[in-house]
Symmetry: C2
Subunit: 169 residues, 2 copies
Amino acid sequence: MDDQAIPLDAETKAVEMPEDHREELRLWLRLLTCSTLIEGEVRRRLRERFDVTLPRFDLMAQLDKAHDGMTLSDLSKRMMVSNGNLTGLVDRLVASGHVVRTVSPTDRRAMVISMTEEGRTEFRTMAGEHEHWIADLFGDLNAKDRTDLMRLLAKTKLSARRAIKGDDQ
Amino acid sequence: MDDQAIPLDAETKAVEMPEDHREELRLWLRLLTCSTLIEGEVRRRLRERFDVTLPRFDLMAQLDKAHDGMTLSDLSKRMMVSNGNLTGLVDRLVASGHVVRTVSPTDRRAMVISMTEEGRTEFRTMAGEHEHWIADLFGDLNAKDRTDLMRLLAKTKLSARRAIKGDDQ
DNA sequence: GCTTATTGTTTTAAGCTTAAAATAATTTCC
DNA sequence: GGAAATTATTTTAAGCTTAAAACAATAAGC
């Protein structure tokens, strides 16, 4: 009866009442929606305009930054995908002539993946347009919005990493 | 030679120089990283803890909100995935006893998907833990951070929708 | 009522993704 | 130098995802 009348301090409340985390849930759903929405559109345009998939574009984006190629493991870490996934992805990019596989001169287990000349040229064209798409998709955010969002996402990333790191050791 | 010495006003600059959109690009990559990081962890925990996949969890989350079931098309719109995708997803959830298919009484083309009693019970357990995971993952954000991020993501979502709507009509 | 267009779903083919197991080469440690 | 552990990659099996085509039922326009 008196539940609502008795004021509780934050500590007591945290211990005695089941906490309400709906706000965080809504935040997560909104973050996911934004991400899904933009990613889907980028996928659609990459296919429509260049007949390329997002994973292939992402892989080439990594290779474009590294001048002397990268090993599968490096790519795997950077792209946050499994090694097995990359095997097939690289197969298809080799078949289409965008990248080549070479055995590492220093480690015979490792494969070094590098872009071909044509792959690089084609990627740069795609990347140029891609940058404009992103600018357009984020076009209604002003300079302050962008700075604030950047900072908050950085904080979110750290928070998530902290939660992930801590959960099994 | 004098390029750097001549000051240009914003308008002139915008027209004559290739614009630099690296900031928006970094913003997008950071948004995507956050989303991927959290989503990956949620997937991992759902599998580990309940042996369920994220798409199945998401589908059940939609059904849990709608008391009298939903048609495939409704689910497709809400979940932002293709119809064909849902066919297989529902197949598997029917096989595991979480949901049932019934033909719509008003439209013989439409299938109404609804949760079974056991499916609902199991989902609520999962949803309860899931909410805590999210609260933990976002745990380092204070109340103001959350409000600000919520607002900025809403703005981003609108901006993206505007850009998507406008691009082919 | 009949034709046409629309809507709802499934099928198909291709590609993406993962975890787990298998394979191969290197490094570490006696 | 040889056994054991680690590291790099591939294979496998299962599931997710999409676009496009096929199919089925309903709605709209005459």
